[in-house]
């Protein structure tokens, strides 16, 4: 019963048409991707097979896929939260980096009992992510500063800032552009012996279900959804639109920071320059592709995680660059954004789609 309701909440509007549209968009994007692969002198079939093998070839590969999925999923949830409240948090990448660094700092600079250490590191990661988005969020709701541009610019500063901290202040003696390793007491528990896959994945899944339930069944979730889809109506109905907008960005940033913490404590066990490149953007794309639905983001994040994991083998087995998967992802988003099945809807003067 609960499952069915959840499912209906996820695909409430025009399920069949939406699915048909997405499928068509996927097909077009893959066809275009194939053409580009042909252009760089590779066989599209070989590339796709290699990708599949790299992603799902054996248990270890599957675990690798899930390992890549984890940060994309958590970043995707961060994006979903913002999108549902009508905000574009393009700064997840920056929040991820700061969260990652903050967790690493707690991990190597303090010595705490095991569980407490993880909690403390995670808390600081979450706080760092929230703080990093707080200034753009404040200016967005108070003075209408476009959050897309301000959070993008903040990304560049965040990456440079964490690099500076890593290399100039906290460099591992003898190492190169990385912090000292965190203490084992701050490690996230691993799920299997053969992989670095850790409980971060479960955190991500729980977060997705929790956020979906929040939007579906709580008063606050209702208010956020209304602010996102009809802000003037929400304001009229007594919802504090500014506070909701600020809160939504703050929570989104906090989850972005959490993603960084999970990546540091679960996978790398240290912070290093460029430690998780592109996960923030992948998360945003995954959320867009899922139309702002947290449950849908689980699947799109898995898809992108598989592409990433597969691309590692791609670099080994073919001459293609692993960035070809970025091309495929971008093409999918472009095709979905054109939304061929819904082309005739809406009036001429152009109400925008992507309403969440």
């Amino acid at each position: 019963m609960t499952n069915r309701l959840l499912f209906r909440g996820l695909f409430s509007k025009g399920l069949a048409r939406t699915l048909m549209g997405q499928a068509l968009a996927f097909a077009i994007a893959l066809a275009l991707g194939a053409i580009i692969i042909l252009l760089i002198d590779e066989s599209p079939v070989a590339v796709f097979l290699t990708l599949m093998r790299g992603a799902f070839g054996d248990t270890e590969k599957i675990a690798g896929t899930l390992l890549q999925t984890t940060p994309i999923l958590i970043c995707g949830i961060a994006a979903c939260i913002a999108l549902r409240g009508g905000m574009f948090n393009v700064g997840i990448e920056g929040q991820l980096f700061l969260g990652g660094f903050a967790a690493a700092w707690v991990g190597f600079a303090f010595s705490l009992p095991p569980v407490l250490h993880v909690l403390a590191a995670m808390t600081l990661a979450v706080v760092a992510g929230a703080l990093w988005v707080a200034i753009p969020a404040f200016f967005r709701v108070r003075f209408g500063t476009d959050e897309v541009v301000s959070t993008i610019l903040a990304n560049y500063i965040a990456t440079l800032l964490t690099s500076y901290l890593t290399i100039f202040l906290f460099k591992r003696p003898g190492g190169w552009s990385e912090t000292p390793p965190i203490l084992p007491s701050a490690y996230l528990p691993e799920l299997f012996s053969f992989s670095r896959l850790n409980i971060g994945l479960l955190i991500g899944l729980a977060l997705a279900v929790g956020v979906a339930a929040f939007f579906r069944w709580t008063s606050a979730g209702y208010a956020v959804t209304m602010v996102g889809s009809a802000p003037k109506f929400a304001e009229y109905g007594g919802v504090n639109v500014r506070r909701v907008g600020f809160g939504v960005l703050l929570v989104s940033g906090a989850v972005g920071g959490l993603a960084g913490g999970v990546e540091t404590l679960g996978v790398h066990h240290r912070f290093m320059e460029g430690f998780a490149p592109g996960f923030g953007f992948d998360g945003l794309i995954a959320a867009l592709l899922a139309n702002g639905s947290p449950i849908g983001t689980i699947f799109t994040a898995l898809f992108f995680g598989a592409l990433r994991a597969g691309s590692l083998l791609l670099e080994v087995d073919t001459t293609a660059s692993r960035e070809i998967i970025t091309v495929i992802q971008a093409l999918i988003i472009l095709a979905v954004s054109a939304d061929l099945m819904m082309r005739r809807r809406g009036d001429r003067t152009g109400e925008r789609r992507w309403k969440f």
Binding site: W217, S219, M226, A230, K232, E235
Partner: protein, 560 residues
């Protein structure tokens, strides 16, 4: 007298060109500008109608949008040199017909002849080339450009490939003088009044050598005074041999200005008659299809305590100009206080300030003795103010959400719809189902998206939500705008029921007959101020008309 000397100037200027208006009429006009119905007999002196040819001849025009037939084999003949009014309710097909004539839409069947020549009009460019000109209901001027730039947009005068500004200004000045439409060619359009914007729109059409001018609901945003000036201008055009097609749903002005009237109902022509052969009552019956009258609703006097008390309220509009100027009013329980006025004289701002959606710049508002100014909309709602917004599609509903989700707004944290912050959707759907029954909302069920409902039914959803919100002060802005007549009556019944239940109601409407039917007292707003108060039972339409134009009736008596 001083109050009307603007129009005096106007008449003098017009007089130089069109000496046909008798000096004696002019005098009476200038002292008695309020009620259009009184003016019309004097204005419509027999037009010099030429019966030789037709300016526009439409035959069998049919236009369908899906299953809905907007125009059903319409025949319309407009003689050269007449003012031809096309009248009908909202949704009767007037605008569709004019869009077809102007080439913005293509008919599914039928033919169009202009000046006796049958032709295909597949774009506005063709229509313009044939001497048609359209003044749209919503003005299409570019605020950052000058008056001259706007007039010549799309037909710029160029020299060496660059736009010749000086020549455009020169030409605008010429047109302005020729047609007696005073504008400053070099002024930017941003910040000009609606009346002037309309003049620019008309000049735009004239600059394209239009011989037949179509005006779509031209007076909707004008003061009575501005409307009056417009009619004078139109009369002048006709005297010069041009043709005017005038679309309206406003009886008064149709009777005031037209030579011939075509009535549309449900996409069909019901009648085409000379104005002189029509009475207002007959026109209403033709439009609506039955005798209806907004008779004053019977009522008993309620002596309630003051529920809403507004004192010396000031507020600014979106451009930070004063929109409310020292507004004071009270509303008692069991009383309906009406706010009359031409749209855009501060009514919207008043409603927004009271509902907490717009900051006030001065004054005080008390709800049952509690100060509610500068409180949040949520706090004001909790204090007992329910608000039916004027812009219902933007403020009143989320069109993409379900009816239930729309109904939940404002009570998403309250029992029985939510407990400990968790929404009980089953209870919400149940409550919405009951409201659909109770308010006769035409919907399949509570999970229908709001956008699938008609305007009148969406309004009923809003009313149902607000009337059941538990507030005892109701702020109702334009309850029947864009709502069909049948639904209007139901909405009026409901408002009277709320009055009988002892609620205090502030009713804002631009429809005088609505206020006449419902209000105990009517306050007239002009330029952000309350001009005066009229008792609803013995409503003096002339006095209200004067006040809507910013003239204090007391001043008038002194002057004459």
């Amino acid at each position: 007298m001083s109050a009307v000397h603007g129009s005096q100037l106007y008449f003098n200027r017009r007089h130089e060109r069109a000496p046909r208006i008798q000096p004696e009429v002019r005098r009476r006009l200038s002292t008695y500008v309020s009620s259009l119905s009184c003016v019309n007999h004097r204005l419509s002196s027999p037009a010099s109608v030429c019966f030789m040819d037709f300016a526009v001849d439409l035959t069998g025009i049919t236009k369908r949008f899906g299953a809905f037939t907007a125009n059903d084999s319409i025949n319309l003949t407009v003689r050269r040199g007449e003012i031809h009014a096309i009248i009908g309710e909202n949704g009767a097909g007037k605008t569709t017909l004019m869009n077809i004539l102007f080439g913005l839409l293509q008919p599914d069947a039928g033919s169009i002849a202009i000046g006796g020549k049958t032709m295909l009009i597949d774009s506005p460019a063709v229509a313009i080339a044939e001497g048609l000109g359209m003044v749209h209901q919503h003005f299409k001027l570019v605020p950052s450009l000058t008056v001259a730039d706007n007039i010549f947009l799309g037909m710029e005068i160029r020299k060496n490939g660059l736009i010749d500004r000086a020549a455009q200004v020169e030409r605008t000045r010429f047109l302005s003088e020729k047609f007696g439409l005073r504008v400053d060619p070099q002024e930017r359009v941003a910040g000009l009044s609606v009346g002037i914007e309309q003049r620019i729109e008309i000049l735009k059409v004239l600059a394209r050598n239009a011989r037949t001018i179509i005006l779509d609901e031209p007076t909707a945003v004008l003061t009575p005074q501005e409307s009056h000036d417009l009619f004078q201008t139109l009369r002048g055009f006709v005297d010069d041999g041009m043709t005017v097609i005038f679309i309206s749903h406003h009886l008064e002005e149709v009777m005031a200005v037209s030579d011939t009237v075509t009535v549309l109902r449900d996409g069909r022509v019901v009648a085409t008659k000379a104005k002189s052969a029509l009475t207002k009552r007959e026109l209403v019956r033709l439009m609506v299809g039955r005798d209806i009258s907004f008779d004053r609703r019977p009522r008993t006097r309620n002596d309630g305590a003051v529920a809403l008390n507004v004192t010396d309220l000031w507020a600014r509009d979106d451009r930070w100009l004063p929109a409310l100027k020292s507004v004071s009013l009270t509303v008692s329980s069991g009383e309906i206080v009406g706010i009359a006025g031409v749209a855009g004289n501060g009514q919207t701002e008043l409603a927004e300030v009271l509902a907490g959606l717009r900051p006030a710049s001065n004054g005080s508002v008390q709800l049952h003795g509690h100060d509610i100014l500068d409180r949040t909309p949520a706090e004001i709602r909790n204090r007992g103010l329910a608000h039916v917004p004027g812009d219902r599609m933007v403020r009143g509903v989320d069109r993409d959400a379900t009816l239930s989700a729309n109904m939940l707004m404002g009570r998403q944290k309250k029992k029985p719809f939510a407990r400990h912050g968790v929404i009980d959707w089953a209870a919400v759907h149940e409550a919405m189902r009951a409201l659909i029954q109770r308010y006769d909302i035409r919907a399949r069920g509570p999970k229908d998206p709001a956008r699938s409902l008609s305007g009148g039914n969406i309004q009923k959803v809003v009313l149902a939500r607000e009337f059941t919100a538990g507030g005892d002060v109701l702020l109702i802005d334009q309850p029947t705008r864009g709502v069909d007549i049948g639904a209007q009556e139901a909405i009026h019944d409901e408002i009277m029921r709320q009055r009988a239940d002892g609620r205090a109601i502030l009713l804002i409407s631009t429809q005088l007959d609505e206020l006449k039917a419902l209000a105990d007292r009517i306050l007239v707003m002009f330029d952000g101020r309350i001009m005066g108060s009229v008792d609803g039972a013995e409503m003096d339409e002339d006095a209200i008309g004067l006040m809507m134009a910013g003239i204090n009736p007391a001043d008038m008596t002194e002057a004459t």
